[in-house]
Symmetry: C2
Subunit: 221 residues, 2 copies
């Protein structure tokens, strides 16, 4: 199966042609993104919290302090929504109405589960660390027992998943093309700047290669 | 009052020193951000949807198609959470555990209300359009009656609001500074690239000044 099964909850209804359930597309968006926004409800009130995530095959991992409200709430098995959004361009039309953005987003619905197994917990922290920067796990000090106790790891299967993508030009009303107003696309991209060491970097520490922060390259199949 | 009143729902508990309720700080984050993530629940299932927003004094405006599920749900007066996140830097520590991000985020809780008054609806679309690019409203064709009928506008007061900010260096365990691992900050910034006209831009259309897309400048008090 190369696509996720569409449910009544994940079927993209508005502008359905922007929706896709293709696994390779979903994976590439999840791998390029850095943070997700996690939605969950506490006593009926929704909360949306930005946090790190990482994909491992057909599951997401989330982590955080073992005492955080978010992690404790999610570990109870409540319904959750994890959304990852990449913003690609401003889409400037000749009318206010047709302004838009080019973007790629993924919405994952489900119930997060607390990971108990120590080997899986370690594996999750491995993929979470390398989601930030590839191969970072291999070069840093890995978690000790105390740190593992302070960390909660959650997993969410990629089962109820949809992506929504807008690409291309603005769509103006035909008569508006006669207006002397610029219309087109202004690309947006994320850049990393010059690293600043914290003043305690040893002279024998390898320097950082900025190519490692190229999230588009990381997301290539 | 220069700060928002803290409630049990907005008080930042984890790492409380990262929390702030200062209105000027909240406003600057909201004005620099481009999209928000809106959280709401339908039949107990939370959804988190990326969408445009804009701040007008002490309220946010959201808009969308009058027939979208999100807008129809929010217009019923359900509890909502609007989160805006700016990612400023990778924070690379010498241990996996102390990796972090520098970020600025705002969480707004409350109930969105459908805006009915035509003058306020038009004003909301004005600030929403100029949130994308300053002064864009003044140069494009403004909405006609049909477009206004197709558009729903919601307002959410800035009452229950918190911001959370992390700045600065990684905090490594003292003994880890002896490791030959690079530690410090890698800044992240958003760039706009060369605009690409859609092939139907009239020769007498003013060119786009890319300085208008400087969201940090836009957010200055």
């Amino acid at each position: 199966m190369n696509t996720y099964v569409t449910t009544s909850r994940t079927r993209v209804r508005r502008l359905a042609k922007r929706g896709t359930y293709d696994k390779a597309v979903v994976h590439s968006i999840l791998d390029e993104g850095l943070l997700c926004h996690v939605g969950f409800a506490v006593e009926g009130q929704p909360y949306v919290i930005p946090t790190l995530y990482a994909r491992d095959d057909e599951r997401l991992y989330l982590h955080g302090s073992a005492v955080s409200r978010m992690l404790k709430t999610l570990a109870e098995g409540v319904d959750v929504c994890v959304t990852v959004t990449l913003v690609d361009a401003y889409v400037l039309a000749r009318s206010a109405f047709h302004h838009s953005m080019n973007y790629r987003s993924v919405v994952v619905l489900g119930r997060a589960q607390l990971v108990i197994d120590d080997a899986e917990r370690m594996r999750a922290l491995h993929v979470l660390t390398n989601h930030i920067v590839p191969n970072r796990w291999e070069e840093v000090r890995q978690p000790n027992e105390l740190e593992m106790r302070q960390t909660a790891v959650l997993t969410l299967p990629l089962e109820e998943v949809s992506a929504k993508i807008r690409v291309g030009e603005p769509k103006d009303d035909e008569e508006d093309y006669a207006l002397p107003v610029w219309g087109g696309i202004v690309p947006i991209s994320t850049h990393v700047g010059q690293p600043t060491g914290d003043g305690r970097v040893r002279p024998d520490a390898p320097t950082l290669d900025l190519a490692r922060f190229d999230r588009k390259a990381k997301a290539l199949p």
